[in-house]
């Protein structure tokens, strides 16, 4: 899928995004996300901010730059960023072509992002470029499964899922390695489908 089509899909999804995600999924993952974002420090990059639902889980007093390639999502994220007890700058930007100098950020965070970036390895290479040497990438992502019957079911569901939202079969840990990250650690949150990934 081209970037412009992907942008339009997420612009269209922005209106119902909070309705779909703010109760069940966010309440279920809330404690884990709080733990996931807890190590924030230094100059932090958050890709992609969406409607800003995750901002509630950020520790206070952080200096964060959040991007998204959907202007409609960013519009909805703005009040949440303004209410945050710290600094969040929101920018309209494509993950595959980041408008930042090399070695800008101490940490990068993603949350259910690389299921939707059209070229995930290119996006991850860009993340690696803007991270300072020794900087860490932390990801809360859903991926494909390597276990039967979950892998078969996700493959069967994927054409419908991709039409309305994310790809549900990606091997994001492999993409992280392919993008050049060396020390990649994975922790399963739900089966081997919802996972926390840390890389440097």
């Amino acid at each position: 899928m081209s970037t412009s089509k992907a942008r339009k899909k997420w612009d269209d999804a922005a209106r119902g995004f909070d309705f779909m995600n703010s109760r069940g999924p966010e309440r279920r993952w809330g404690p884990l996300k709080r733990e996931f974002f807890a190590p924030m420090q230094g100059k932090v990059f958050f890709l992609a901010v969406g409607t800003g639902l995750d901002i509630q889980f950020f520790p206070p007093q952080q200096d964060v730059v959040g991007i998204d390639f959907s202007p409609r999502m960013l519009e909805r994220a703005q009040p949440r960023a303004a209410a945050y007890d710290g600094q969040i700058e929101l920018r309209d930007m494509d993950a595959q072509h980041l408008d930042f100098a090399d070695d800008t950020f101490d940490q990068a965070y993603t949350s259910c992002t690389f299921c939707s970036v059209p070229d995930p390895v290119q996006g991850l290479r860009e993340l690696r470029r803007v991270l300072k040497p020794g900087g860490t990438l932390r990801m809360f992502e859903h991926t494909g499964s390597r276990w039967f019957p979950f892998n078969v079911m996700l493959q069967m569901m994927n054409p419908i899922a991709r039409k309305f939202g994310p790809d549900i079969t990606r091997d994001t840990p492999a993409n992280v390695r392919e993008a050049g990250f060396q020390d990649v650690r994975v922790r399963n949150v739900y089966l081997d489908i919802v996972r926390m990934i840390e890389a440097a």
Binding site: R23, G24, R28, H142, F150, M153, P173, N188, V189, Y190
Partner: protein, 123 residues
């Protein structure tokens, strides 16, 4: 492993709903006039299609993948098994629903067991 009663209750309700709905519809739709292989195939795909709106509603309240995975597996298997059974013997709708529930709950238990096995592990 999920320990919060609200979400455990939600997982159970979601699987029961998916199994009962798919089982009932398959029992209503499939008759002994269907060849068994066609009935099983139709049951699997129709079950999945029928489950999508139910799963969307349950996800709003109880979570994303934790709800979707057992519900979709339930709908595929319940659709297939109930359709197969209904193609062999006439099956009342209520019995189809019961079969669906009896398939959905063990599948939920299986996903909980698989999750306990895989939790924390990674590659």
């Amino acid at each position: 492993m999920e320990r919060r009663p609200y979400f455990i209750f939600g997982d159970v309700i979601s699987s029961v709903l998916a199994g009962a709905a798919v089982g009932a519809v398959m029992a209503a739709l499939i008759s002994v006039a269907w060849p068994m292989p066609a009935a099983m195939l139709a049951g699997m795909f129709l079950g999945m299609a029928l489950c999508i709106p139910i799963q969307t509603a349950c996800s709003l309240l109880f979570g994303a993948f934790e709800v979707m995975v057992p519900m979709m597996l339930t709908s595929m298997l319940a659709g297939m098994v109930v359709a197969m059974r209904a193609s062999m013997l006439e099956m009342p709708v209520g019995e189809g629903a019961l079969w669906g529930v009896c398939i959905g709950l063990p599948i939920l238990a299986f996903t909980y067991a698989a999750n306990a096995m895989l939790a924390g592990e990674g590659r």
